[in-house]
């Protein structure tokens, strides 16, 4: 039945430029169906993440597109529940030389070297982030702890729906990395929280640590409102004909389906450690991957490299597949399955 309604809905919404008078009579009863259908659709995938009400749990992960204002609008239209900007810091960075990314089989490797126009330039480009038609998450980082605070303050002035803190990008040499040390993680979290006002803050963790649970615990204790898990896992590929690493940066981060089991394990472990919500990110390509991540304990799911495999409309595809799975398995909403793999 819903499929029929769906078709009616799309026929109606097709913008075929029909006249007003005659078709109006037909339109009215169909609109009731349309609203009914929309209502069930919203209810099934609707996700509450901190104080955000997302139409669905799919979020564009940081680092894929998300550089320009117009790309945010385009991804919003393609069905994402929220969009995370590419990470910004206190200064402009050109990033690494190419090749910065490539894929083979189910592995994707990248080392872009955190290029970005810098928060000051981004403030001029975006002006504000709360009127782009989709909730926008501002991703930030700094080199020193106080810079995290400064960038957070500027980002907060743009009114993002959430601030995500990249303490985990494996491509930069901070000296002792923040992501690998619970104490540093806590300090960065506090610095951002002090400058973010009421905007919720999520700390993005790296899988390249001995124990991700203690890092997540430190972030929660320092006031984090959510955890984004995970960033890429470090990796490398050497071209045997060239006898050289392919990435200009030599090493990079692994994403794509190959990252998923690591991400699911991390989210599973973090869910048992903290009470704050988790944005499960890593290798989500199909609806079933998203369901799996939610069963591990994720509240929402990040999708990045999925665009490479399935196009910008991967968000709509994943949502449709999730819905289909839910209907088949008689699951009414995502709360029913969240964390169900535990215990």
């Amino acid at each position: 039945m819903s499929r029929v309604l769906n078709q009616i809905y799309y026929l109606q919404g097709g913008g075929n430029g029909l006249g007003h008078s005659k078709s109006q009579k037909i339109v009215f009863p169909l609109n009731i169906f349309k609203n009914k259908f929309k209502f069930t659709k919203i209810k099934m995938l609707q996700t509450k993440l901190c104080n955000l009400n997302l139409k669905n749990p799919t979020i564009l992960a940081s680092g894929i597109l998300g550089v320009t204002k117009e790309s945010v609008g385009r991804i919003g239209k393609s069905g994402a529940g929220a969009v995370t900007l590419k990470s910004l810091c206190h200064e402009e960075r050109m990033g690494s030389k190419n090749p910065t990314m490539f894929g083979y089989e189910n592995v994707f490797l990248n080392a872009v070297g955190l290029p970005g126009q810098g928060i000051d330039s981004a403030m001029k480009e975006f002006v504000r982030l709360d009127n782009l038609g989709v909730p926008v998450i501002g991703s930030i980082y700094g080199y020193r702890i106080e810079q995290f605070g400064d960038v957070a303050k500027k980002m907060a002035s743009l009114r993002p729906a959430m601030i995500e803190v990249d303490i985990s990008c494996p491509h930069m040499d901070y000296g002792k990395p923040y992501y690998a040390d619970p104490e540093s993680t806590a300090k960065v979290t506090q610095a951002v929280k002090q400058n973010a006002g009421k905007i919720p803050v999520s700390i993005k963790l790296s899988p390249n640590v001995y124990d991700i649970k203690e890092i997540a615990h430190a972030a929660e204790k320092a006031g984090a409102d959510a955890i984004t898990a995970i960033n890429t896992a470090t990796g490398m590929a050497i071209d045997v004909d060239a006898r050289k690493p392919i990435l200009a940066n030599k090493t990079g981060g692994i994403s794509g389906p190959a990252l998923k089991p690591i991400a699911v394990r991390c989210v599973y472990e973090i869910y048992e450690t903290v009470k704050i919500p988790i944005i499960g990110t890593g290798g989500i390509t199909y609806g079933k991957d998203a369901v799996e991540m939610i069963m591990a304990g994720a509240t929402a799911v990040g999708i990045g490299t999925g665009i490479y495999y399935r196009g910008i409309d991967v968000f709509k595809k994943v949502c449709d597949e999730m819905e289909r799975w839910m209907k088949k398995n008689k699951v009414k909403n995502l709360d029913e399955i969240r964390g169900c793999a535990h215990g």
């Binding site: 030389k97 090749p99 910065t100």
Partner: protein, 268 residues
């Protein structure tokens, strides 16, 4: 579910021939089949150095080439690449030019290399080609049998002036022309678009931007809401007319928007 096995990785190919095309322009040939349409591009990797997008400039059944003009560090480093050296190639990427009858092709400078496979695919197109001076002209031998209208800025070869002057004349005289297809400096292409709009002739232009991935995920090559590497590089009149950034601004590697002039200064 084979979508999750997509492979986009440079493949090392031996350079089968190196041909000097003009002052600073060089073509690198590969004896390899490339399934490519006119206007598409490849990513060329100089191992251990850098990787850049390049238009496919020669295409036959088992051979292809790209033509590079030594401007920046990468293209200058390519000058040292010799026959039998290996370069990493991936692609082709992007969309392609339309193949229509009664076409007029306008090229500026090394932009001719981006429309050369188009010219080879068209039946008797009208050709307009301009460069700064005689020594910057390429493919003169290749197209000696084609009726090419050549201009140079300094008048050292062909007619003194610009390609846009000739296009204006051609479109005024020849009402049969259905489409103008172009590649060259963006300021020139913007003028060509304006001339085409005035004469109500369809226009297609090949747009260049800084690229990292070539397959639509890094977000660096955006022009307004268009991703040049997957939505383009060929855009039609309607799209170009809606792009406020076309002919005006471009983004640096960092994502910051600057004037086209600054973009070329910083990225060359």
């Amino acid at each position: 579910m084979d979508e999750c096995c997509r492979t986009e990785i440079p493949k090392l190919l031996e350079v089968s021939d190196v041909v000097k095309e003009g002052k600073g322009q060089t073509s690198f040939f590969f004896e390899h089949h490339l399934d490519c349409k006119p206007g598409q591009f490849i990513m060329v990797w100089l191992p251990g150095f850098d990787e850049k997008p390049m238009a496919v400039s020669y295409l036959s059944k088992n051979k292809f080439a790209f033509t590079s003009q030594a401007i920046g560090k990468f293209t200058t480093a390519l000058e040292n690449v010799k026959k039998r050296d290996k370069l990493g190639i991936r692609g082709p990427y992007g969309n392609s030019f339309s193949i229509k009858s009664n076409a007029c092709v306008v090229a500026g400078g090394v932009g001719l290399s981006s429309v050369s496979t188009l010219i080879d695919s068209l039946k008797n197109p009208i050709l307009i080609y301009g460069a700064r001076s005689k020594e910057h002209l390429i493919y003169l031998k290749r197209y000696k049998n084609k009726n090419m209208n050549i201009t140079t800025d300094d008048g050292s070869f062909g007619r003194k002036g610009f390609t846009t002057d000739i296009l204006e004349e051609v479109l005024s005289k020849n009402k049969k022309i259905k489409i103008v297809q172009t590649c060259g400096p963006e300021v020139m292409m913007k003028k060509i678009l304006d001339i085409c709009l005035k004469h109500k002739v369809e226009c297609e232009a090949s747009v260049e931007r800084y690229m990292s991935c070539g397959f639509g995920i890094c977000g660096k090559c955006m022009v307004n809401d268009k991703i040049v590497c997957i939505d383009g590089p060929i855009f039609n009149s309607k799209q170009l007319n809606q792009m406020s950034e076309f002919g005006n601004t471009a983004r640096l590697k960092s994502g910051r928007k600057v004037s086209l002039k600054d973009y070329h200064l910083i990225h060359s």
